[in-house]
């Protein structure tokens, strides 16, 4: 079974600081990887996804993530955060050999960006 861990529970940054949120998963097979974001009072939205190909994935709002297979990691990055990036971020994985049926989420990282 898959599992996902996220390194930080709560991250506090000032505007214009760089962001990196860690995500590691455990699963021996081929996986799809996702980052979702939940802005205050809103529903979960997909930030970016990795299915195959280039391990550096670009998403919406200037976010990107890098899949490092040897490290079972899929860290999220943004070079310069804005106050509007304040949200909760969830890393998720599903197994391709299960036809992507099971989405397993990490515990989430709350990002607070100070103006």
């Amino acid at each position: 079974a898959q599992s996902v861990s996220q390194h930080n529970h709560h991250v506090i940054l000032s505007e214009a600081a760089s962001l990196e949120l860690g995500c590691n998963y455990s699963y021996g097979g081929t996986v799809n990887l996702f980052w979702y974001v939940q802005y205050p009072g809103q529903h979960l939205q997909l930030l970016l996804k990795y299915f195959s190909g280039d391990p550096l994935v670009k998403g919406i709002k200037g976010f990107e993530a890098e899949f490092i297979k040897s490290k079972f990691s899929f860290n999220l990055r943004k070079p310069s955060v804005q106050w509007s990036d304040t949200a909760e971020y969830f890393c998720a994985v599903n197994a391709q050999d299960n036809y992507g049926q099971n989405f397993v989420f990490g515990p989430g990282t709350r990002l607070s960006v100070l103006p």
């Binding site: 996902v4 996220q6 529970h9 799809n32 996702f34 979702y36 529903h43 979960l44 939205q45 997909l46 996804k49 299915f51 195959s52 969830f90 998720a92 599903n94 391709q96 036809y99 992507g100 049926q101 099971n102 989405f103 397993v104 989420f105 990490g106 515990p107 989430g108």
Partner: protein, 114 residues
């Protein structure tokens, strides 16, 4: 385009009362359907998922049950709510039979059991 509807948005129920949360998907056929519970600091816990009408997989033992009476309808129920059932419940869908699919989420239901 596909849309997912989940209701109600908020619900306050007394302990011991029944529960019924409904989720419907439009614009797609035979989706995979999911119920998650979101608790602070614990991320999203998968409660149930369904790959077809009447087919329900339960991920954790609990006071809740799920049913899929129609292709695009997924219902979360309880006969008697417990205080510990309070939380934020999310319905989601994904494309059936696709190796590469993302999950699409509804707006969620905030359930408070008092």
């Amino acid at each position: 385009s596909q849309t997912i509807h989940q209701w109600p948005a908020t619900l306050v129920q007394p302990v011991g009362s029944p529960l019924s949360l409904e989720c419907t998907v439009e614009g797609t056929s035979n989706p995979n359907l999911y119920w998650y519970r979101q608790a602070a600091g614990r991320g999203l816990q998968l409660l149930f998922y369904s790959v077809g009408i009447g087919q329900i997989s339960s991920e954790v033992p609990q006071n809740l049950s799920a049913s899929r009476p129609q292709d695009r309808q997924f219902i979360l129920s309880s006969k008697k709510l417990l205080l510990s059932d309070s939380g934020f419940y999310l319905c989601a869908w994904s494309i059936w039979g696709a190796i590469n699919t993302e999950a699409f989420f509804g707006q969620g239901t905030r359930l408070t059991v008092v």
